[in-house]
Symmetry: D2
Subunit: 150 residues, 4 copies
């Protein structure tokens, strides 16, 4: 089972209807099959933004993982929505820059040839991880974290 | 049925387990109940980033809608992941700036008091819409769109 | 005097050494001549990130202005730094999506053929403006603004 | 000479009129004195967005450097403009999350008590550096870099 197959088996991918079709050498491709429960409006036919996020984040992450063969948690990601997501989606991602601490990847999401959204994410490629970009015993104590709520 | 109830009934919110609890005067709050199918790893216990995106985007959008009482599509949104999402999540959003064309809103997502992620989004508040920030007959012809694939 | 010339005469462009060379039909190009005072380190030879921002924001804005022929203030912009800026810079920007309320533009900054940074910005294209994306009498009262300091 | 003094002496800070007043324990503060050449319009009185970027990026970076005592290049940064910059500016930055590979910092820029802009940046805290987030001999070969121009 190759990387694309492994990622397709992730519980959230199966839940969302994502199939990772290719993930190698910093490039990844995948699809999402639209379903009624993806809509943001009852009977809508336009997917909620987070459905697009789910496909984009997954395929961008797959491109990064294909170079590092380890979990590469998303540090930050920006999505730009360019058209309504009216049906099945396909996504293509490429690593733009790959480093010993972080990598940057871009992804484009289309429906039927129309560009629906683009995203650019920064992913962690180094250090221990416990499921986020910040996990692991080598992280400095988060003594400043509470500031955000001040 | 108030705005929070209406949003909770959106198909994708129900699918993802989101409950919008408050949406008024540019402020919104909501929760997401974690489920096994939210995990990015089989048997994982850490939610996929897009689960966090789904809650954050929804609650930030609810804060904007509470001021405009019309669809306010997300134009762009940036997520910063700060800790793994290990269980039920709650989100609080506030409109930071509200204008005749766009609004900016911030949202914080926590699990059990730990800040899991923050996001800042720009939302469209004017013009016709057909489900995205760009829809409607008043938009200029997208003659430049194909450049992105060049 | 065409748009490119007008923009080159902006006080901050002259201060920073920016020349806008082309600005028409949603596309713009320009250059920045590196100077010792652009460095972030004494005797450095690597430009401060904000020098790159200055060129990128200006050329991206020029691309948007070329379609609207009015001020189009930056609402938000994300910069990704990909390599040190070790000398004269050139930038190429394209509007990706143009609408009645906002436009999205991308810009690439290079030094000697090496990609130094990319940026994507969202710009306001509608409504009154008093120098920012939020100005003008048609904006809703910013009664929520103080929250950010809470 | 402490860190704030050292940063104030950076060529670009002196060129832009930035004074770093405090930089310790993940917190930094500074000011920018407005000058005619900061304007985006002849005789304008509203600073170019990149002037705001310069102050914000510098003070956010100072907050990160105060924890690591080494160069911490900006990987990516998002600016949100909230009001025109009509005069002298002051900025306050805090590290939100600090890790062994990257740190996240927020900064607020004000003029006379009005919030002019906010920014959030991700900064590199590990590995060799040659002036950018990607420098150093420990980086993987950038064999994918050319894709961005494809």
């Amino acid at each position: 089972m190759d990387l694309a197959d492994i990622m397709t088996q992730m519980p959230y991918c199966r839940h969302l209807g994502i199939e990772v079709q290719e993930a190698a050498d910093g490039h990844a491709e995948g699809t999402l099959t639209m379903d009624d429960h993806h809509s943001s409006i009852p009977g809508g036919g336009v997917a909620h933004g987070a459905v697009v996020h789910g496909l984009a984040d997954t395929i961008a992450g797959a491109a990064v993982i294909s170079l590092h063969h380890r979990p590469t948690p998303t540090i930050d990601i920006r999505f730009d929505h360019l058209a309504p997501a009216r049906g099945d989606l396909d996504a293509v991602a490429d690593v733009r820059k790959d480093g010993s601490a972080v990598a940057v990847a871009d992804v484009k999401v289309k429906h039927d040839g129309t560009l629906v959204a683009t995203a650019r994410g920064t992913f962690k490629t180094a250090g221990d991880t416990d499921g986020s970009a910040w996990g692991g015993r080598d992280d400095i104590e988060d003594h400043l974290d509470l500031n955000l709520d001040a």
